[in-house]
Assembly symmetry: C2
Homo-oligomer: 304 residues x 2
DNA sequence: GTGAAAGCGCTAACAA
DNA sequence: TTGTTAGCGCTTTCAC
């Protein structure tokens, strides 16, 4: 026959909708769009559906989505926090809606989470640059108190301190989300004296913008400045010079978070302790990084 | 109070869920991820929710999603067809679920649709290359009978014929979805004798791969070969050389398709004739294209 | 085994 | 105005 049971009626009866919500900032960012795919693939494979909610980094929009999650009675929520306002999480938490935090922790809540090892990823990048002889290493990163960002900064500072290099706040530049912000940020960095010979720019999108900004400033990458990114999005291996970057298993994060959430939903235990998965990051060395050469010192000194 | 009405109950009562479905191939592709954003922004702004379904270019998966749309009783579906199998559309159509086709037509169905002007976009790119003096112009495009693709081919052929250049099937190479496929495809093109001096590669992702492939082959872009893309995704302006490309208003397509669908849902008319919107494409000239020079003829002749 | 009935939470219709 | 009720389509229970 041509019969399909109405989910609305089943949901009303069972008090479960076989739907989960995914709240994240913006699919336009390639990193998030891979995450979405990891989530959707898993959710579909297990017979569930996905409600997609893009917060656009706005707290008010996240609040609205939390209300929607509640009235739509989703069975659980995957949450990529994008602001410092955790009230939407609190709303869901009170309603006992299972939540899995992705990519960053939600301060003040004991939640399941799937994270990447941002600290060690960042440190690995800096170690590598140090090994190439770089001593003046900049960091371009979005200004944020979200744990993924703070961990990257911590990894950067730790690796430098390990090498006995003292902290220089001028080398840390506020980045953003897009290519233009990378272009802008590197120009700021290039004005410093002595000029940094390498930079860790996060995420990849910003690093790609930074490369472009350096080229526009008449420099060669990596000839005059080395650039390392963060995330390893597909385009990073295809540009020229290809981008050395800290690869994160983003699709995998989406998959694992979705699996964790669906497991929790189906377990329905009264007592549970939050699970916390930290996935490894690893450095992928490509063409945008190179050893310090004479060219650096020649240029870095005088003509600015 | 802390009261939020249960959507499942309201849905059962009203026979509408205030949810629409979006079926599209893959968020990993930047073009589609912008489309998703255009749709989600609009759907959210009007108080609706979005069920995201990624078909992965698989007909079986699209069929499964059609069944889900039916049992979830979504109020309408935005459909980016990805295969030649239109049976999922037929399922939805029979159930009288409003459908808006995006980016490509669904052959055999009278549907609302929001398209881009692929024909004129493609033709504009070729005209521009012709104006630069190119005569041997390749085309890298996915092999597909979807209307967006066939229109691009038609625009390419038409513009060449207008210039009195006869059709050469060897210049049309099967591309794909990803960067690697662009890299592979251009190598095929570069083996031809005479070697093409320009190529229209679609989408941008493939064009970016093609640039990389040309560079890997020891050529300069645009010095030895000009490359034009299709879509204008954000990264295209940030790579070096930046990509000349046929810009499509993708976010706008998502927005207009969502608006059209929501309007249709709310109108609930018995009689209506399908609406068809074709959004203009326009060429964005950047650095990956240049005039034919001596370098081309010198290289194109002998050493292969 | 097979079949009828109650109820999930909401709202539209109707009664008071 | 305000309050009561019936029923959306499903499932589970309970009666036969």
């Amino acid at each position: 026959l041509d019969y399909a049971p109405l989910e609305a009626a089943r949901s009303l009866r069972h008090k479960r909708t076989r739907t989960i919500g995914l709240i994240l900032p913006d699919t336009t960012n390639p990193s998030y769009s891979i995450l979405v795919k990891g989530v959707e693939d898993t959710v579909f494979a297990q017979g569930w559906s996905l409600l997609l909610c893009l917060s656009g980094y706005e707290a008010t929009r996240e609040q609205a989505y939390a209300e929607i999650m509640i009235s739509k009675q989703v069975d659980g929520v995957l949450y990529v926090l994008s602001t410092t306002d955790t009230s939407p999480v609190a709303r869901l938490y009170k309603r006992q809606i299972p939540i899995v935090a992705i990519d960053r922790e939600v301060p003040g809540f004991k939640l399941d989470c799937v994270l990447a090892d941002n600290f060690n990823g960042s440190a690995a990048a800096i170690h590598y640059l140090l090994k190439l002889g770089h001593r003046h290493i900049g960091l371009i990163v979005r200004y944020s108190s979200l744990s993924n960002i703070t961990e990257r900064i911590r990894g950067y500072e730790w690796a430098l301190s390990q090498a006995g290099i003292e902290k220089n706040p001028a080398l840390v530049i506020a980045g953003g989300f897009g290519f233009e912000e990378g272009q802008r940020a590197i120009k700021e960095l290039l004005r410093l004296d002595p000029r940094p010979t390498a930079v860790l720019a996060s995420p990849d999108v910003v690093a790609i913008g930074a490369i472009r900004g350096a080229i526009d400033a008449g420099l060669q990458v990596p000839g005059h400045i080395s650039v390392v990114g963060f995330d390893d999005i597909p385009v990073s291996s295809s540009i020229s010079p290809s981008l050395t970057t800290v690869a994160l298993p983003i699709w995998e994060m989406g998959r694992m978070a979705a699996e964790m959430l669906l497991k929790r939903i189906q377990a329905q235990e009264e007592e549970w302790s939050p699970e916390r998965i930290v996935l490894p990051a690893h450095l992928v060395i490509r063409e945008s990084t190179g050893a310090v050469t004479e060219a650096h010192s020649l240029l870095a000194g005088g003509d600015e």
